[in-house]
């Protein structure tokens, strides 16, 4: 019911209320340069000082902030250490050894056979209790991990399993959200987005019953970050 009458009526009312002349159907839009420029060349507004640290301190801040929101973080020396760290974490937490991983070469292509874990790759289903996914970037400012959907990263892996283990490369930790947008534009081209781009700041939570915070509302109860030192 994409009703062009309603569209025109609403836009007409907006223009009228803003004191602009009615837009005739055959006239070109009168978009001011200010608007066109802003959309073409997005600029950062105000970046908090805490996000503007040297990279080593950004990583420390990222760990601190992520921990503050109830995520756990372990640092490993190289991607080869990821399977062992996942196995260690699951054993420590007494969690199942059956793991669903993202079909991303950087994750599913690791030497999982060194562990006793039962690994499969693909989307998450109702039975999956643990997932391992890559990340696009991470932001020190608030301890936020950024994940994007795509063929190598089904979106359900981030939300359905009770435990979400996410791999963050230290080189991809940035100070602020704006840095991530710049990187995304670089990799996707300006104005393009994946179907879903998700900021994850700690595990799922709710305070809806008597304002007491409980983790694991509908999404993961645990968010474990494996931080790979690749810098």
């Amino acid at each position: 019911m994409s009703n062009s009458t309603s569209r025109d009526a609403i836009l007409g009312r907006i223009r009228h209320s803003l004191g602009r002349p009615a837009q005739m159907p055959d006239t070109p839009p009168d978009t001011p340069d200010e608007v066109t420029d802003r959309l073409k060349n997005p600029v950062a507004n105000l970046i908090p000082a805490r996000a503007q640290l040297p990279h080593a301190q950004q990583i420390d801040l990222f760990i601190k902030m992520a921990t503050q929101v109830s995520a756990t973080v372990t640092r490993v020396g190289s991607p080869d250490d990821i399977p062992r760290e996942v196995a260690r974490y699951l054993a420590d937490q007494n969690l199942p050894a059956r793991v669903r991983v993202a079909p991303d070469a950087g994750i599913s292509g690791l030497a999982w056979d060194q562990t006793m874990l039962d690994i499969s790759a693909g989307i998450a289903g109702p039975e999956d209790a643990v997932s391992v996914t890559p990340s696009f970037a991470a932001v020190a400012e608030t301890g936020t991990v950024m994940v994007r959907s795509g063929p190598d990263h089904p979106y359900t892996l981030n939300l359905l399993p009770d435990t979400h283990i996410v791999v963050v490369h230290a080189s991809r930790v940035t100070g602020c959200y704006e840095d991530v947008w710049a990187r995304l534009r670089q990799s996707e081209g300006h104005g393009n987005m994946p179907r879903t781009f998700l900021w994850v700041t700690g595990p799922s939570r709710t305070g809806d019953i008597e304002q007491t915070i409980q983790l694991g509302a509908h999404g993961p109860r645990r968010l474990h970050i494996v931080l790979v030192d690749d810098t």
Partner: protein, 497 residues
């Protein structure tokens, strides 16, 4: 496989778009006597308010970010037509659809048509105040669609057949024992002796029940905290992850948003996000901030096959260029109601429509008319706390005053107040008469007080003395005493030595 659904949601119970705002006084009376509600409201203090203060103290740039956020929204509103058409073009470029809807009816019909086209039986919902505004649940249920709210708070009030009492904590008025009662009554086929004492028990059960809904859903409806013109993206901000599952597991994702949600760029959204969660729950950032653009891509393994944005006007375009334009900056953080002493006294239901608290007292008259909601902008002491905490610096008290002016112009208020004001203005603009009258009144009250310092009751002052004693004047007025003093002074100065 289409599993039998464990929850039987009763149909046609949502009366939330029927306003009880004209009965605000009675609603407030009942709310003040409701011990259970009063206990729940007591939690606002230690919950949202203290956490907000701590989060703001941790970010020195908070005030400057507020200014930036205001600038962004003001600029967007001044160019709303341009940004909306840019947003629309980018949604389309990504394979999505935009539906412009003038009012609630059109929005509901549009959503129904999408459901019918997909032959849908069930609709999952992430939390959306716009869907409350348009009365979507009741409408869809009348059309024999099963509607399930997935946000825990929304789910609880759906089971209780109540509207939300708060815009970010819809079940803030409900106690855990009441939640347990609702769950036992609704979740059939479970052990009747199971333990549902603690919030954790209740959450675990809700999570299990909801999982089955998630895997059976046809249509997923969410709201939107932002629409991004640059990319054609809708953004939701959640903590539970329910909105994400709603929009990912369903075949069709419909984002319902009012048109002032648009911002120019990802950077602009990021700036406002820095003040949103801090003002709302006192978190530095909510658990999930989700940017959704178009349907799943050809190579994607999951995600919705269709993406629709229902863009609602419902009177907002008429607010532009008026005294109420600034209200369109609102980002629905709820800081105003969390800090409002009136909301804190009576809770959200007393306000009688979708949006409670100070933001509701300004917005509701714009949406349903001042003649239906005259109490709301009047039920404020103008203490200014709402404006102080509003991250978008919306001058809420000033706009409530503007509503009082409209009401006065339309002769909607009580005529006794009207004549009272006119009579008072008559006196107060005649200094000699005023002086005589106040001098007389002060003496009279003094005599009535009889040395007691205060009166327990007084004719025509019932509103005052119902609650508190009326302090009696000292005796003479300041002006009488001042005049006497000045006379004495000049007599002393000019008198014989």
């Amino acid at each position: 496989m289409h599993r039998a659904l464990p929850v039987a949601i009763r149909k046609g119970n949502n009366a939330m778009h029927v306003s009880t705002s004209p009965k605000f006084r009675e609603n407030a009376h009942d709310a003040l006597l409701d011990q259970s509600l009063q206990r729940a409201l007591g939690r606002l203090k230690t919950g949202f308010k203290d956490k907000r203060s701590a989060a703001i103290a941790a970010l020195p740039e908070f005030e400057a970010l507020r200014d930036k956020a205001v600038e962004i929204k003001n600029h967007t509103l001044e160019n709303l037509d341009h940004y909306l058409t840019a947003f629309e073009a980018n949604v389309k470029a990504n394979g999505g659809h935009v539906h412009w809807c003038k009012d609630s009816e059109e929005a509901c019909q549009t959503i129904l048509k999408i459901c019918r086209d997909k032959d849908a039986k069930s609709v999952l919902k992430g939390k959306s105040m716009i869907s409350e505004e348009i009365g979507l649940n009741a409408f869809l249920e009348k059309q024999d669609l099963q509607v399930v709210e997935t946000d825990l708070g929304e789910y609880i009030i759906q089971l209780r057949h109540e509207p939300p009492s708060h815009i970010i904590a819809p079940a803030i008025h409900v106690h855990k024992e009441q939640v347990a009662d609702s769950f036992r009554a609704t979740h059939k086929g479970r052990d009747p002796n199971r333990v549902l004492d603690e919030p954790r028990d209740l959450l675990d059960e809700a999570r299990e029940v909801m999982r089955e809904h998630f895997f059976a859903a046809d249509i997923g409806i969410t709201g939107a905290n932002f629409l991004i013109a640059e990319t054609g993206t809708s953004v939701i901000v959640t903590n539970e992850g329910n909105g994400d599952l709603t929009q990912t597991l369903s075949r069709v994702h419909i984002a319902v948003a009012s048109l002032e949600k648009v911002v120019p760029t990802l950077e602009d959204a990021s700036t406002i996000l820095r003040v949103l969660a801090r003002s709302a729950t006192g978190q530095e950032m909510s658990s999930y901030t989700t940017f959704s653009t178009g349907p799943r891509r050809a190579e994607d393994l999951d995600g919705p096959q269709e993406y629709h944005v229902v863009l609602l006007d419902n009177g907002r375009s008429n607010m532009l260029g008026t005294d109420f334009q600034d209200m369109l900056r609102c980002i629905r953080c709820a800081a105003c109601m969390n800090h409002c002493p009136v909301y804190g006294a009576v809770g959200g239901h007393a306000y009688g429509w979708v949006y409670p608290g100070p933001m509701g007292s300004v917005l509701t008259p714009s949406l349903i008319g001042i003649n239906q909601s005259g109490h709301l902008p009047n039920a404020s002491t103008f203490c200014g706390k709402c404006e102080e905490v509003c991250p978008m610096r919306i001058p809420l008290p000033k706009m409530m005053r503007h509503w009082r002016e409209r009401e006065f112009e339309k002769h909607l208020g009580a005529s006794s107040v009207r004549y009272g004001l006119k009579g008072w203005a008559f006196m107060a603009s005649r200094p000699r008469l005023y002086r005589a009258a106040t001098g007389l009144a002060a003496r009279l009250l003094r005599i009535l007080g009889g040395g007691r310092g205060a009166l327990r009751s007084l004719p025509f002052a019932g509103g005052w003395t119902q609650i508190r004693d009326l302090p009696v004047p000292e005796g003479k007025t300041f002006k009488q005493l001042w005049e006497e003093q000045q006379k004495n002074k000049s007599r002393q100065d000019g008198g014989p030595k």
